[in-house]
């Protein structure tokens, strides 16, 4: 520890000390010493008085002022008021409360690395990515070491920085990875092309997956102190507010984050040990400004039963890996024959970690695995999709999946669940919010005759409201009514939502007891697969529903749960419908 230079940091200038202060200090020194040295002449003009006591009086007065300043730096009320004598000390002092401004200036985003080979690839962690002038980023890697991109058949070692590449079309693969850096130039938007300072022929393109978020302005010590006074929470994942504080600091692009901990309704992973002690569980739900980011992949599926028979239909089945955990699937179409209608598509969801993320809990996490079954469309008995012949005579067809995701979810998961950050004794999982998919929101209103309604403005406001609506914000009609009034309505007569809770993008959930390969044993799997309950939305009260799996604890439990702490809303702009009521 460096010895603090108290004189240069806290001592006042000698000229700042008033005669009254000096006299008071001298008098007290004299009284203090008189107890043990009653005969000592300490009066002014005496040798000891003038040459010892008086200088000591200066020192004492200065020291007392310095101590007052030091104690002021310890008193966060004063610091919050802007009175700071030693910024370095206060900054370190606030670090004890885990209140830091270190990462605030960094901009964040997610880049997509497109690869033209499907073999393992190592990217130096020092690689810098630039997006025009003034925008330079480095990989946000939670673990030591470089970034390993694994071949599609590979897997990532625990506590290493890695992603498995995912095919996005017939000869290209992709990974998304978070980046941090400075963005002083033109803001980086989704799709912008980037450059690497360590290019390799294996990488064909680098682009922004989402709109990047500018770093927050530097938080002053006074603001930090005020924050510490008002709510002292450590920026760790041990507590709900600690987790919130940590996430807000590390990931400024998150629009909402909701830690669900033991005894919360939404916490279904809580396990009571034989000693009656609950194991610590924390489900951290996050949603970023990149939520519902549209994406699409082209995947090639093998055809099972090319010659169908009764009970053995011809169908395409494969395990599908997404670049990011999907939160909604818009469409699945043939890549080469998009006009051919597909029906009877089934998606089954499994998990890579049945203990940490069993059943529906794996939904919207990086632990979810998906198996896709597409029946071969027929015209009579004639297959409508043309296939290509691959190794061993297997027939294949390529399909395009258009889906939406939040690319920040795996980025947050990498950090939150890393060994350095995850709290000891608490099992942390990072999830996207459970999606309440609204197929329509019909708003009926009355307006004064002759008034032109600004419906586009209202639609955009309502769209943005739902897009960022997640705990601690809870749905309220007031925002919608306010937007309608502002747009010109005199009354809002009704607001009618329609939709359903989407527990997963899959139709079926594979039970943890099923150990076979779902692709090879599709029918067996479907025989035991679980169907999540259907919870439709038809009233405003449904938007704030709380529902816990009715079969919890039973063999057919799906572990679905929705409540105020883990719900978000997916409402497309076009699905906001206005109806004018003529009175």
């Amino acid at each position: 520890m460096t010895t603090p230079d108290f004189i240069s940091t806290y001592f006042p200038e000698l000229s700042e000390i008033s005669a009254a202060q000096l006299l008071d200090a001298r008098t007290r020194i004299t009284s203090y010493l008189a107890v043990t040295h009653p005969d000592l002449d300490m009066t002014p003009n005496s040798v000891f008085g003038d040459l010892v006591i008086t200088p000591f009086a200066h020192l004492l007065a200065a020291h007392e002022t310095a101590m007052g300043r030091f104690m002021s730096d310890l008193d966060l009320e004063n610091v919050a008021g802007g009175v700071i004598y030693n910024c370095d000390f206060v900054r370190k002092y606030l670090n004890n409360f885990a209140v830091i401004d270190r990462d605030n200036l960094q901009s964040t985003g997610v880049i997509r690395i497109l690869i033209c080979v499907n073999t393992d690839l190592t990217i130096d962690r020092r690689t810098r990515y630039s997006f025009g002038d003034g925008n330079t980023f480095t990989l946000k890697l939670p673990h030591p070491g470089h970034f390993f991109i694994k071949a599609p058949t590979g897997s990532v070692e625990p506590y290493t920085n890695g992603r498995v590449m995912v095919p996005v079309d017939t000869n290209r693969w992709a990974v998304d990875i978070g980046v941090v850096g400075t963005m002083t130039g033109t803001p980086v938007l989704k799709g912008d092309a980037g450059l690497s300072d360590m290019p390799t022929t294996a990488i064909s393109a680098i682009s922004a997956s989402i709109d990047f978020t500018t770093g927050l302005p530097e938080t002053s010590l006074a603001v930090l102190a005020e924050k510490t006074r008002s709510t002292f929470f450590s920026a760790t994942l041990n507590t709900r507010n600690g987790a919130r504080h940590f996430l807000s600091k590390e990931f400024p692009s998150l629009t909402a984050y909701s830690p669900v901990i033991n005894s919360d309704t939404e916490q279904l992973r809580e396990v009571i040990s034989v000693l009656g002690i609950a194991e610590g569980k924390s489900d951290i739900y996050v949603i970023s400004n990149g939520f519902a980011n549209t994406d699409q992949q082209t995947i090639t599926l093998p055809l099972f039963n090319p010659v169908p028979s009764f009970g053995n239909p011809s169908r395409f089945i494969a395990k599908v890996t997404f670049v990011n955990p999907p939160c909604y699937i818009d469409s699945i179409t043939s890549a080469t024959q998009p006009t051919v209608g597909l029906s009877g598509i089934l998606i089954a969801a499994g998990t890579t970690d049945s203990i940490k993320a069993p059943l529906a809990i794996a939904s919207y996490t990086k632990y979810a695995t998906y198996y896709l079954m597409i029946p071969m469309p027929l015209s009579g008995s004639t297959p409508l999709l043309t296939t290509t012949i691959g190794d061993g005579g297997t027939q294949y067809h390529s399909f395009t999946i258009a889906y939406r995701s939040d690319p920040m979810v795996p980025v947050v998961a990498d950090t939150v669940e890393s060994r350095d950050v995850a709290p000891i004794g608490i099992d942390v999982i990072t999830r996207g919010f459970v999606v309440m998919h609204l197929t329509s929101l019909t708003i009926s209103y009355v307006k004064t005759p002759g008034v032109t309604m600004a419906l586009d403005t209202a639609r955009t406001e309502i769209f943005n409201y739902f897009k960022t609506l997640a705990y601690p914000k809870v749905f309220s009609t007031s925002r919608i009514i306010d937007s309608m009034y502002y747009a010109g309505a005199t009354e809002v007569t009704s607001i009618v939502p329609a939709g359903a809770v989407q527990w997963s993008v899959a139709n079926k959930i594979i039970p943890t007891s099923f150990a076979e390969d779902p692709v090879e044993h599709w029918d067996d799997m479907m025989g035991v697969a679980l169907t999540p309950p259907v919870k439709t939305i038809s009233t405003l009260a449904d938007l704030t529903m709380t529902y816990v799996d009715a079969n919890l604890g039973e063999s057919n439990q799906t572990m679905v749960v929705v409540g105020k702490r883990n719900v978000c809303y997916l409402l497309d702009l076009a699905n906001i419908i206005f109806t004018e009521v003529i009175e």
Binding site: A19, L22, D39, D41, T43, V47, F48, T54, A57
Partner: protein
């Protein structure tokens, strides 16, 4: 009361007599001597400490014995009041300070000083005028 002694005479001027100490009313007298020699305002803690005698003399305000009497009286008065205000407990309180010019030499003005306590103790050279 006791304190470190000062040597007021000698080639080096006023020096600290490390091996000697002053006690009782001698401390008061010694402090009075120091006060006379100090400039008023030289101590930020005690604005009343010191006199203007030395500065006035250097400024040429004391060309005659009459002037010397005049300024010495003021210096004695200031010193008396200051010593009385700062009188430590348990020591005879100052009652009278007499400061009179004795002679002019080539080195300067020679003064005679005496300090009398309330109990009658007198230290210094008593002079009548």
């Amino acid at each position: 009361m006791k304190g470190l002694a000062l040597q007021f005479s000698g080639a080096s001027g006023i020096t600290l007599a490390v091996t000697k100490k002053v006690t009782g009313f001698n401390c008061v007298a010694q402090n009075g001597m120091v006060n006379i020699a100090c400039d008023k305002g030289s101590d930020v803690i005690y604005p009343d400490k010191g006199t203007t005698l030395y500065k006035d003399a250097l400024a040429g305000k004391v060309p005659t014995f009459t002037d010397a009497y005049h300024y010495s009286n003021f210096a004695a008065l200031d010193t008396r009041f200051f010593l009385k205000n700062q009188a430590p407990a348990g020591v005879e309180v100052i009652d009278k300070v007499v400061l009179l010019p004795f002679t002019y030499t080539t080195a300067g003005l020679v003064l005679k000083a005496s300090f009398s306590g309330a109990n009658g103790t007198t230290i210094g050279i008593t002079t009548t005028t």
